[in-house]
Symmetry: C2
Subunit: 255 residues, 2 copies
């Protein structure tokens, strides 16, 4: 018996998200199909999280348990032969028994990409939030620091979630500009349904001076936070399974 962790990149545009759904293409079912082709039998593919329709992943992690063992590099290449062009397995590695893509995760980092220009980039289509109003990145960076720490993020969760404990710890919330692009990186021990997108929508409104981030924290009132930024700018960037790796990344942003 072997447990393999797969690191998967995908462009989410064509998909209803990670999770298998009736009558809608999902990344999970595409990966399950590829796994079935390679192993000759249908295996469960367990993901690290649901992702929303249209959300992308630079390094999603899922795991499979199998009787048949395949050398990890060969498994990676074999899976890619059976995957569509908008999904790639970047790495396959053998994990210890008991590894679970979701429950073993200590935290996740998301990247949100805003094209802050009145002119579209034809090559960024479907992969950015086109936001025409100029954002002062120093102000955004300063205001965004309010998210960092342990807070009740109840106001930063979309309706439809069954979760009742809405306290999360945000490890960092970093905003930087690269030309016409604003790159927002944030990690937490966990994120609520649509939390990153609502944080971004809230930040943009706060930058306009029409909202106070701190007033929206530690309340359950969704109305105090800003709108949900579009899915197309959001990328799951990193899932942390090593405490050391997570701490190094946090320190990196604190310097």
């Amino acid at each position: 018996m072997a447990v393999y962790a797969l690191t998967v990149a995908y462009k989410g545009t064509r998909y209803s998200g990670w999770q298998v759904q009736k009558n809608a293409p999902s990344v999970q079912s595409a990966v399950q199909d590829a796994v079935e082709r390679v192993f000759g039998t249908r295996l469960g593919v367990t993901g690290c999280s649901r992702t929303d329709s249209g959300v992308h992943a630079l390094a999603y992690v899922c795991h499979i348990e199998t009787e048949k063992e395949i050398q990890p590099e060969k498994l990676c290449l074999a899976l890619n032969m059976h995957l569509p062009r908008d999904i790639s397995v970047l790495e396959a590695r053998v994990e210890e028994d008991g590894f679970h893509a979701r429950y073993s995760a200590l935290g996740k980092e998301y990247l949100y990409v805003i094209r802050n220009s009145r002119v579209r980039d034809p090559f960024a289509e479907g992969g950015v939030y086109q936001y025409p109003f100029h954002v002062d990145e120093n102000l955004a960076s300063k205001l965004g620091k309010a998210f960092v720490g342990k807070h009740d993020f109840g106001a930063f969760m979309s309706a439809g979630s069954k979760i009742t404990d809405t306290v999360r710890t945000v490890y960092y919330f970093d905003v930087r500009r690269e030309g016409d692009y604003l790159l927002i990186s944030t990690a937490a021990d966990g994120f609520l349904y649509n939390m990153v997108r609502i944080m971004v929508g809230t930040l943009l409104k706060a930058c306009k001076g029409s909202l106070d981030i701190t007033a929206a924290l530690n309340t359950p009132d969704r109305g105090l936070a800003g709108p949900t930024a579009p899915a197309e700018g959001l990328y799951l960037k990193k899932v942390f399974y090593s405490k050391k790796e997570l701490e190094e990344r946090i320190n990196n942003f604190e310097e």
Copy 2:
């Protein structure tokens, strides 16, 4: 009467190239449609070059002549309102009478992007040449220098061109690696039909040791050069109209 130069970025995947063609979508006709919507009359849109089907542009230049004058920044925004999402006008500027997008050009720079990995990048789809065999970038850089200078590039031209003078001056041919990507930048006073793509195909074959670039130069024998690399990796990056700007760029690569 005013002459406007438009700098246009486009993802070429959906198009048969720049040039208007019967029964096939072209970038030129999309731009002409947008110009017609903005000026209320059909105007000629003159491009700096044909580009092949599937080839992209980061900064293609075309010009229009018009009686009606519009403030350049407003013209840029108005055109973008009428363009599809894979074409953007990055800049509109007023040019002197007599400016011609093609005949005023002193040279052009192309970028060719190779993803040098066995694993696809889901976000690069249609915008790179996926090349799985490892390329030593130092060797490629060294071999590619053979292209620089004034040569007869007759062997680097696809059949179907009516051009008889096949002598061109290549100003630079630069190869660098960024992770799994190889970026090739080359500029010349002009390029023959498919010349950059044949140069890239030739370079890759030379890196394998199965072809000698210098033997293919100054002959008309297409068979001595390598295959034509795919269109999807090619980007028109810069059209030079200023001698100073071109010289600075050349010096930049010589250092």
